[in-house]
Protein backbone atom coordinates (compact mmCIF):
# COMPACT_ATOMS: atom_id res chain seq x y z
CA UNK A 1 0.00 0.00 0.00
CA UNK A 2 1.51 3.33 -1.06
CA UNK A 3 1.56 6.43 1.11
CA UNK A 4 -0.65 8.43 -1.25
CA UNK A 5 -3.17 5.61 -1.25
CA UNK A 6 -3.12 5.63 2.55
CA UNK A 7 -3.50 9.40 2.73
CA UNK A 8 -6.41 9.40 0.27
CA UNK A 9 -8.47 7.21 2.65
CA UNK A 10 -10.44 5.75 -0.26
CA UNK A 11 -11.68 9.22 -1.20
CA UNK A 12 -12.79 10.10 2.33
CA UNK A 13 -9.59 11.98 3.28
CA UNK A 14 -11.43 15.28 3.74
CA UNK A 15 -13.59 13.69 6.44
CA UNK A 16 -11.27 11.15 8.09
CA UNK A 17 -8.22 13.37 8.64
CA UNK A 18 -10.05 16.39 10.09
CA UNK A 19 -11.81 14.01 12.52
CA UNK A 20 -8.46 12.63 13.67
CA UNK A 21 -6.97 16.14 13.81
CA UNK A 22 -9.79 17.47 16.00
CA UNK A 23 -9.42 14.54 18.39
CA UNK A 24 -5.65 14.98 18.54
CA UNK A 25 -6.06 18.69 19.33
CA UNK A 26 -8.56 17.83 22.09
CA UNK A 27 -6.19 15.23 23.61
CA UNK A 28 -3.07 17.42 23.48
CA UNK A 29 -5.05 20.48 24.59
CA UNK A 30 -6.34 18.55 27.60
CA UNK A 31 -2.82 17.57 28.65
CA UNK A 32 -1.59 21.16 28.38
CA UNK A 33 -4.67 22.59 30.14
CA UNK A 34 -4.45 20.12 33.04
CA UNK A 35 -0.78 20.87 33.61
CA UNK A 36 -1.38 24.63 33.38
CA UNK A 37 -4.26 24.33 35.87
CA UNK A 38 -2.03 22.55 38.39
CA UNK A 39 0.78 25.10 37.92
CA UNK A 40 -1.70 27.98 38.45
CA UNK A 41 -3.01 26.38 41.64
CA UNK A 42 0.55 26.01 42.96
CA UNK A 43 1.32 29.67 42.27
CA UNK A 44 -1.97 30.77 43.89
CA UNK A 45 -1.39 28.59 46.95
CA UNK A 46 2.09 30.02 47.31
CA UNK A 47 0.78 33.57 47.19
CA UNK A 48 -2.17 32.89 49.51
CA UNK A 49 -0.12 31.08 52.10
CA UNK A 50 2.60 33.73 51.97
CA UNK A 51 5.39 31.51 50.85
CA UNK A 52 6.78 33.95 48.31
CA UNK A 53 9.12 32.42 45.80
CA UNK A 54 11.05 30.31 48.25
CA UNK A 55 9.63 26.98 47.15
CA UNK A 56 8.81 25.29 43.89
Amino acid sequence: MSLSHFLSMGGYAMFVWPAYAITLVVLVGNVMAARASHRRALAEARRRLGMGELAG
Binding site: M9, G11, Y12, V16, A41, A45, M51, A55
Partner: protein, 243 residues
Protein backbone atom coordinates in the same frame (compact mmCIF):
# COMPACT_ATOMS: atom_id res chain seq x y z
CA UNK B 1 -10.91 0.20 55.80
CA UNK B 2 -12.23 3.53 57.04
CA UNK B 3 -8.89 4.62 58.41
CA UNK B 4 -7.35 3.67 55.08
CA UNK B 5 -10.03 5.61 53.23
CA UNK B 6 -9.53 8.58 55.50
CA UNK B 7 -5.80 8.52 54.92
CA UNK B 8 -6.27 8.18 51.18
CA UNK B 9 -8.61 11.16 51.05
CA UNK B 10 -6.37 13.34 53.19
CA UNK B 11 -5.01 16.15 51.00
CA UNK B 12 -1.24 15.62 51.52
CA UNK B 13 -1.50 11.89 50.92
CA UNK B 14 -3.67 12.23 47.84
CA UNK B 15 -1.49 15.01 46.45
CA UNK B 16 1.66 12.88 46.66
CA UNK B 17 0.03 9.68 45.42
CA UNK B 18 -1.62 11.42 42.47
CA UNK B 19 1.67 13.01 41.50
CA UNK B 20 3.29 9.59 41.53
CA UNK B 21 0.55 7.81 39.56
CA UNK B 22 -0.30 10.40 36.87
CA UNK B 23 2.78 9.76 34.64
CA UNK B 24 2.15 6.00 34.68
CA UNK B 25 -1.44 6.43 33.53
CA UNK B 26 -0.42 9.09 31.02
CA UNK B 27 2.30 7.04 29.33
CA UNK B 28 0.22 3.83 29.29
CA UNK B 29 -2.55 5.85 27.61
CA UNK B 30 -0.06 7.23 25.08
CA UNK B 31 1.21 3.75 24.14
CA UNK B 32 -2.31 2.33 23.83
CA UNK B 33 -3.54 5.24 21.69
CA UNK B 34 -0.55 5.05 19.33
CA UNK B 35 -1.03 1.28 19.02
CA UNK B 36 -4.75 1.68 18.36
CA UNK B 37 -4.04 4.35 15.72
CA UNK B 38 -1.85 1.88 13.85
CA UNK B 39 -4.43 -0.88 14.22
CA UNK B 40 -7.33 1.34 13.18
CA UNK B 41 -5.75 3.24 10.31
CA UNK B 42 -3.44 0.59 8.85
CA UNK B 43 -4.26 -2.94 9.97
CA UNK B 44 -8.07 -2.86 9.95
CA UNK B 45 -9.60 -3.48 6.50
CA UNK B 46 -11.96 -0.91 4.96
CA UNK B 47 -15.65 -1.44 5.74
CA UNK B 48 -17.62 -3.19 3.00
CA UNK B 49 -20.32 -0.49 3.07
CA UNK B 50 -18.61 2.64 4.33
CA UNK B 51 -15.12 2.15 2.87
CA UNK B 52 -12.41 4.02 4.74
CA UNK B 53 -14.88 6.55 6.18
CA UNK B 54 -15.73 4.01 8.90
CA UNK B 55 -12.25 4.66 10.41
CA UNK B 56 -13.74 7.78 12.01
CA UNK B 57 -15.22 5.32 14.52
CA UNK B 58 -11.78 5.05 16.20
CA UNK B 59 -11.92 8.66 17.31
CA UNK B 60 -15.70 9.20 17.40
CA UNK B 61 -16.80 6.28 19.60
CA UNK B 62 -14.02 6.69 22.22
CA UNK B 63 -14.81 10.44 22.45
CA UNK B 64 -18.51 9.69 22.87
CA UNK B 65 -17.69 7.04 25.51
CA UNK B 66 -15.57 9.61 27.37
CA UNK B 67 -18.35 12.22 27.23
CA UNK B 68 -20.71 9.82 29.05
CA UNK B 69 -18.21 8.11 31.36
CA UNK B 70 -16.77 11.41 32.59
CA UNK B 71 -20.27 12.74 33.26
CA UNK B 72 -21.10 9.70 35.38
CA UNK B 73 -17.83 10.12 37.32
CA UNK B 74 -18.60 13.82 37.77
CA UNK B 75 -22.18 13.30 38.98
CA UNK B 76 -21.20 10.42 41.32
CA UNK B 77 -18.39 12.34 42.97
CA UNK B 78 -20.63 15.42 43.21
CA UNK B 79 -23.21 13.26 45.02
CA UNK B 80 -20.56 11.80 47.36
CA UNK B 81 -19.28 15.31 48.10
CA UNK B 82 -22.79 16.54 48.80
CA UNK B 83 -23.85 13.64 51.03
CA UNK B 84 -20.68 12.96 53.02
CA UNK B 85 -19.20 16.46 52.73
CA UNK B 86 -15.91 15.20 51.35
CA UNK B 87 -13.82 17.99 49.85
CA UNK B 88 -11.84 15.61 47.67
CA UNK B 89 -15.03 14.38 45.98
CA UNK B 90 -15.99 17.94 45.08
CA UNK B 91 -12.45 18.46 43.78
CA UNK B 92 -12.87 15.41 41.52
CA UNK B 93 -16.25 16.63 40.22
CA UNK B 94 -14.90 20.09 39.44
CA UNK B 95 -11.93 18.57 37.60
CA UNK B 96 -14.14 16.39 35.39
CA UNK B 97 -16.13 19.19 33.76
CA UNK B 98 -13.62 20.79 31.36
CA UNK B 99 -12.30 17.38 30.26
CA UNK B 100 -15.81 16.03 29.70
CA UNK B 101 -16.90 19.13 27.79
CA UNK B 102 -13.92 18.86 25.44
CA UNK B 103 -14.60 15.21 24.61
CA UNK B 104 -18.30 15.92 24.09
CA UNK B 105 -17.25 18.56 21.59
CA UNK B 106 -14.92 16.02 19.92
CA UNK B 107 -17.74 13.46 19.73
CA UNK B 108 -20.08 16.00 18.08
CA UNK B 109 -17.44 17.31 15.66
CA UNK B 110 -16.18 13.89 14.55
CA UNK B 111 -19.80 12.75 14.31
CA UNK B 112 -20.56 15.62 11.93
CA UNK B 113 -17.54 14.67 9.82
CA UNK B 114 -18.86 11.11 9.69
CA UNK B 115 -22.47 12.14 9.07
CA UNK B 116 -21.73 14.26 6.01
CA UNK B 117 -20.32 11.44 3.79
CA UNK B 118 -22.66 8.72 5.19
CA UNK B 119 -25.99 10.50 5.68
CA UNK B 120 -25.37 13.50 3.43
CA UNK B 121 -25.74 15.94 6.30
CA UNK B 122 -23.48 17.38 9.00
CA UNK B 123 -26.26 17.61 11.51
CA UNK B 124 -29.75 16.32 12.09
CA UNK B 125 -32.05 16.95 15.07
CA UNK B 126 -32.48 13.30 15.95
CA UNK B 127 -32.56 11.87 19.48
CA UNK B 128 -28.93 10.76 19.74
CA UNK B 129 -27.41 13.96 18.38
CA UNK B 130 -29.74 16.28 20.26
CA UNK B 131 -29.24 14.55 23.62
CA UNK B 132 -25.46 14.62 23.10
CA UNK B 133 -25.68 18.36 22.40
CA UNK B 134 -27.65 18.76 25.64
CA UNK B 135 -24.78 16.95 27.40
CA UNK B 136 -22.39 19.61 26.10
CA UNK B 137 -24.68 22.34 27.45
CA UNK B 138 -24.84 20.53 30.82
CA UNK B 139 -21.04 20.57 31.05
CA UNK B 140 -20.87 24.23 29.99
CA UNK B 141 -23.67 25.16 32.41
CA UNK B 142 -21.83 23.38 35.22
CA UNK B 143 -18.60 25.28 34.42
CA UNK B 144 -20.45 28.61 34.14
CA UNK B 145 -22.29 28.03 37.43
CA UNK B 146 -19.05 27.27 39.25
CA UNK B 147 -17.26 30.31 37.92
CA UNK B 148 -20.21 32.56 38.82
CA UNK B 149 -19.93 31.73 42.55
CA UNK B 150 -16.85 33.08 44.31
CA UNK B 151 -17.18 31.05 47.50
CA UNK B 152 -15.66 27.64 46.71
CA UNK B 153 -17.87 25.66 49.12
CA UNK B 154 -21.08 27.20 47.80
CA UNK B 155 -19.89 26.66 44.23
CA UNK B 156 -19.20 22.99 45.07
CA UNK B 157 -22.69 22.46 46.47
CA UNK B 158 -24.67 24.37 43.84
CA UNK B 159 -22.83 22.78 40.91
CA UNK B 160 -23.19 19.33 42.51
CA UNK B 161 -26.99 19.68 42.37
CA UNK B 162 -26.83 20.60 38.69
CA UNK B 163 -24.52 17.65 37.92
CA UNK B 164 -26.81 15.19 39.72
CA UNK B 165 -29.99 16.44 38.03
CA UNK B 166 -28.30 16.30 34.63
CA UNK B 167 -27.42 12.62 35.01
CA UNK B 168 -30.91 11.67 33.69
CA UNK B 169 -29.57 12.65 30.27
CA UNK B 170 -26.97 9.84 30.31
CA UNK B 171 -29.36 6.86 29.86
CA UNK B 172 -31.34 8.94 27.37
CA UNK B 173 -28.23 9.32 25.20
CA UNK B 174 -27.29 5.67 25.55
CA UNK B 175 -30.73 4.27 24.72
CA UNK B 176 -31.74 6.99 22.25
CA UNK B 177 -30.86 4.74 19.30
CA UNK B 178 -33.13 2.02 20.72
CA UNK B 179 -36.07 4.11 21.94
CA UNK B 180 -36.40 6.29 18.89
CA UNK B 181 -36.00 5.61 15.21
CA UNK B 182 -32.90 7.60 14.55
CA UNK B 183 -30.52 8.17 11.70
CA UNK B 184 -27.65 7.30 14.03
CA UNK B 185 -26.63 3.67 13.77
CA UNK B 186 -27.37 1.42 16.76
CA UNK B 187 -24.69 0.17 19.17
CA UNK B 188 -21.84 -1.77 17.62
CA UNK B 189 -19.86 -2.95 20.62
CA UNK B 190 -22.07 -3.01 23.70
CA UNK B 191 -24.58 -5.47 22.36
CA UNK B 192 -25.34 -8.44 24.58
CA UNK B 193 -24.86 -10.83 21.70
CA UNK B 194 -21.66 -10.88 19.69
CA UNK B 195 -20.65 -7.38 18.60
CA UNK B 196 -21.53 -6.71 14.96
CA UNK B 197 -17.99 -5.86 13.95
CA UNK B 198 -15.09 -8.05 12.88
CA UNK B 199 -12.20 -8.73 15.26
CA UNK B 200 -9.53 -6.81 13.35
CA UNK B 201 -11.84 -3.78 13.43
CA UNK B 202 -12.96 -4.28 17.01
CA UNK B 203 -9.61 -4.68 18.78
CA UNK B 204 -8.21 -1.23 17.83
CA UNK B 205 -11.51 0.29 18.96
CA UNK B 206 -11.39 -1.39 22.38
CA UNK B 207 -7.69 -0.49 22.80
CA UNK B 208 -8.47 3.12 21.86
CA UNK B 209 -11.33 3.28 24.38
CA UNK B 210 -9.02 1.90 27.09
CA UNK B 211 -6.31 4.39 26.09
CA UNK B 212 -8.73 7.32 26.26
CA UNK B 213 -9.98 6.15 29.66
CA UNK B 214 -6.45 5.90 31.09
CA UNK B 215 -5.73 9.33 29.61
CA UNK B 216 -8.76 10.66 31.50
CA UNK B 217 -7.46 9.15 34.76
CA UNK B 218 -4.09 10.87 34.23
CA UNK B 219 -5.76 14.20 33.41
CA UNK B 220 -8.04 13.85 36.41
CA UNK B 221 -5.14 13.14 38.80
CA UNK B 222 -3.25 16.23 37.61
CA UNK B 223 -6.34 18.46 37.78
CA UNK B 224 -7.45 17.19 41.20
CA UNK B 225 -3.97 17.98 42.56
CA UNK B 226 -4.61 21.59 41.58
CA UNK B 227 -8.12 21.56 43.06
CA UNK B 228 -6.79 20.13 46.34
CA UNK B 229 -4.34 23.03 46.56
CA UNK B 230 -7.15 25.52 45.90
CA UNK B 231 -9.15 24.11 48.81
CA UNK B 232 -6.25 24.01 51.25
CA UNK B 233 -6.19 26.60 54.01
CA UNK B 234 -3.19 25.49 56.04
CA UNK B 235 0.33 25.93 54.77
CA UNK B 236 2.04 23.07 56.58
CA UNK B 237 1.96 20.19 54.14
CA UNK B 238 2.02 22.39 51.04
CA UNK B 239 5.30 23.87 52.26
CA UNK B 240 6.54 20.32 52.72
CA UNK B 241 5.37 19.20 49.27
CA UNK B 242 6.86 22.16 47.48
CA UNK B 243 10.17 22.11 49.33
Amino acid sequence: MWTWLHKFASPPHFYRLAGLLAPWFGWSAFILIVGALYGGLVLAPPDYQQGDAFRIIYVHAPSAWMSLFIYVVMASSAAIGLIWRIKLAHAVAASCAPVGASFTFAALATGALWGQPMWGTWWVWDARLTSELILLFLYLGYIALRSSIDDLQRADRASAVLAIVGVVNVPIIHYSVVWWNTLHQPATVTKMAAPSISTSMLIPLLVMILGFTLCFVALLLVRVRGEVLRRERSAGWIREVMA
